[in-house]
């Protein structure tokens, strides 16, 4: 899914699976959907590339070679070479770390901040709730990619600010989700019991409520990762954040785009396909995770 899945708190009120049935669930989903398993395997591969990519890449991602410019795919250069004679396969592999890093960074930021803000405003209610809600509404009043552009333009053109901008435009989805999930639990008997036992509001939130909403929040996060990758790559495609010669999928597609009129298709196709593969796998795995943790939201 390209969009962060819309929050549907009512249907996911009872989400936590008992650990005993988790393996059964996993096996059920895996058997029922081989594609999800395949996606998980490819995803693991991409993550490994992100971790150790620079060590195993066959060439130097930055070394240009004047005698090898714009060569089509061949055995020593399976993805061809770019305008400066750099090996595209190497650059695609090395870029995985930056692309995944930006997306993970953004999602972790909005996950942490969004859960905290949403949980507090859902539990406390009143003025806090209204203020947080208003601020989130205002973020949602912008076309999100446009707001991200504006934020990067305002904060400065750097990779860190791309992560911040992507986190900010994702924030409302987490806040609303966490708020709704906490809201339905606020007056449940186990929370009442904790309150009777003399626990303060902070302790009730952190120890009794938040752990219960975490599985559903994790599903949100995993569905959100593909979208975060697309967003960060889109920003660097238009020239924000990542600067050449840094290898990054979005900027590599943008660099390759100039050779479309002379037919050097490999310059933009391989980095683009890397993006598609990563996003596709994240979406499939996110859907699979949702099916396990929250079967009622299956579509």
């Amino acid at each position: 899914m390209a969009e962060p899945a819309a929050a549907s708190p009512a249907t996911s009120a009872a989400t936590a699976s008992a650990p005993a049935s988790l393996w059964a669930d996993l096996r059920h989903v895996a058997l029922g959907n081989g594609l999800t398993v395949l996606a998980l395997v490819i995803l693991a591969l991409i993550v490994v590339l992100g971790l150790i990519g620079p060590a195993i890449a066959p060439w130097d991602p930055l070394a240009s070679n004047a005698s090898l410019t714009l060569k089509p795919p061949s055995l020593p250069h399976p993805f061809g070479t770019d305008a400066l004679g750099r090996d595209i396969l190497t650059r695609v592999i090395v870029a995985a770390r930056l692309d995944l890093g930006m997306a993970f960074g953004a999602v972790v930021l909005s996950f942490a901040l969004g859960t905290a803000l949403g949980a507090v405003s859902g539990y406390v209610g009143g003025l806090t709730d209204q203020i947080v809600g208003r601020v989130m509404d205002t973020i949602m009043a912008f076309p999100l990619f446009v707001l991200a552009m504006g934020i990067v333009a305002a904060l400065g053109n750097s990779v860190g600010n791309i992560v911040i901008a992507t986190a900010i435009i994702n924030l409302p989805f987490y806040v609303r989700f966490a708020r709704a999930e906490v809201n339905v639990r606020r007056d449940q008997t186990y929370v009442e019991a904790a309150r009777m036992g003399g626990n303060g509001p902070t302790r009730i939130l952190v120890v009794h409520i938040v752990p219960n909403i975490l599985p559903a929040m994790m599903v949100q996060a995993s569905l959100n990762l593909g979208w975060a990758i697309l967003n960060a790559a889109g920003l660097s495609f238009i020239g924000l954040g990542v600067r050449p010669p840094t290898p990054e999928w979005g900027i590599m597609v943008s660099e390759g785009a100039s050779y479309i009129f002379s037919g050097e298709w490999w310059t933009f196709t391989f980095p683009g396909m890397a993006l598609v593969t990563a996003v596709f796998c994240f979406n499939l795995v996110g859907d699979g995770l949702r099916d396990i943790i929250d079967p009622r939201r299956r579509t």
């Binding site: 969009e3 208003r134 912008f142 076309p143 333009a153 593909g226 597609v253 683009g272 996003v279």
Partner: protein, 340 residues
């Protein structure tokens, strides 16, 4: 009477969003790195000249006063001067807006024309071929970045097959006489001028960009149509209609689709958010002379007034589109109409 009141209330509910949007664009401008006064003063500035420019720009005044100033200038249609074009930002944006509207509008039409029937067919034949095609398009469509799709379409249809015209912006004035601008939308203007070849030319230029953009919006529309139609078709009233012996066409279009329209219209708000954002990327790829490509250049050139004006204009456009979606939902759903 009650309907009019509901509509008025909907319109009023857009006001807080507009206020929020103006506040955020103002704050974004204030968060700018560096000192705008030093930026305008240039490299040979002395501290005195920077101070005088700061006073001239009103940057030495307290923040609330500056905000009032900003709002007053907004109401006069003053978005500041663009450093890169040397013209008022408002003028730049309004001359380029029709190109963006034409592109986004065509993309939406494309997405609806393909997405709605696809979703309906998938829902009426669950588990069959059409359903799988629908699911495939939805899943794959959501994973492909717009800019990559745009490049691939361009490569195949322009470079390989030679069907598409040169992907360099709108109708070229080398081959066609451009129609006198009435609406700024070339499709409309060429028809007003009665110039059929130019109309076809404009349509051909528009085809690839709007398809690339539309494919992105297709996924949520098809997915929501399918889900809403499935819900509607499994409802009691559809079962009753079937039991009464109504034709399946009557049930699908007269009963189910009519009821499924509300969630579909509601998802359009999100679709517009995608379209307006992805519009920037598509314009960049196709050298489309709209406000998106303008904004990209402005961001790269640190032309802050232009970026700020662009973000504000897009946000206002989006708030108004959401309002339109709300009003349409009111029009098609009596429950919303009589609500409260």
């Amino acid at each position: 009477m009650k309907t009019a009141l509901t509509i008025l209330r909907r319109i009023a509910s857009a006001v807080p969003s507009l206020v929020g949007v103006v506040v955020v664009t103002f704050l974004l401008a204030r968060a700018l790195p560096g000192d705008p006064a030093a930026y305008y003063a240039g490299s040979s500035a002395t501290p005195e000249s920077i101070a005088s420019i700061r006073a001239h720009l009103g940057l030495d005044r307290p923040l609330p006063a500056q905000f009032v100033d900003y709002v007053v200038r907004l109401f006069n249609g003053d978005l500041g001067m663009s450093v890169s074009s040397g013209k008022p930002v408002a003028e730049d944006l309004t001359t380029r807006l029709p190109a963006s509207i034409e592109l986004t509008g065509m993309a939406l039409v494309f997405a609806l024309v393909i997405g709605l029937p696809l979703g309906v067919i998938a829902a009426t034949r669950p588990g069959r071929m059409a359903d799988h095609v629908c699911r495939l398009i939805v899943t794959v469509g959501a994973a492909f970045p717009t800019f990559f799709v745009a490049l691939m379409l361009m490569f195949v249809f322009y470079y390989k097959l030679g069907i598409a015209p040169e992907p360099l912006g709108r109708l070229s004035d080398i081959y066609y006489s451009l129609p006198p601008p009435v609406t700024g939308l070339l499709l409309v203007d060429t028809l007003i001028a009665g110039d059929l070849p130019a109309f076809v030319g404009a349509l051909a230029q528009l085809a690839l960009p709007s398809i690339s953009l539309g494919l992105f919006a297709l996924a949520p529309i098809a997915r929501m149509t399918r889900a809403a139609m499935l819900t509607a078709l499994s409802s009691d009233y559809c079962r009753t209609a079937r039991a009464m012996g109504l034709s399946s066409g009557r049930i699908v279009f007269g009963y189910a689709l009519r009821n499924a329209l509300l969630p579909i219209v509601n998802v359009l708000g999100m679709v517009f958010s995608f379209l307006l954002g992805a519009n920037v990327l598509v314009e960049q790829v196709f050298a489309w002379p709209g406000i998106g490509a303008y904004a990209v250049n402005a961001v790269i050139a640190s032309d802050y007034a232009a970026v700020q004006g662009f973000v504000l204009m897009m946000a206002i456009l989006y708030v108004l589109l959401n309002l339109a979606v709300d009003l349409i939902a009111t029009a098609i759903d009596p429950r919303v109409r009589y609500d409260g």
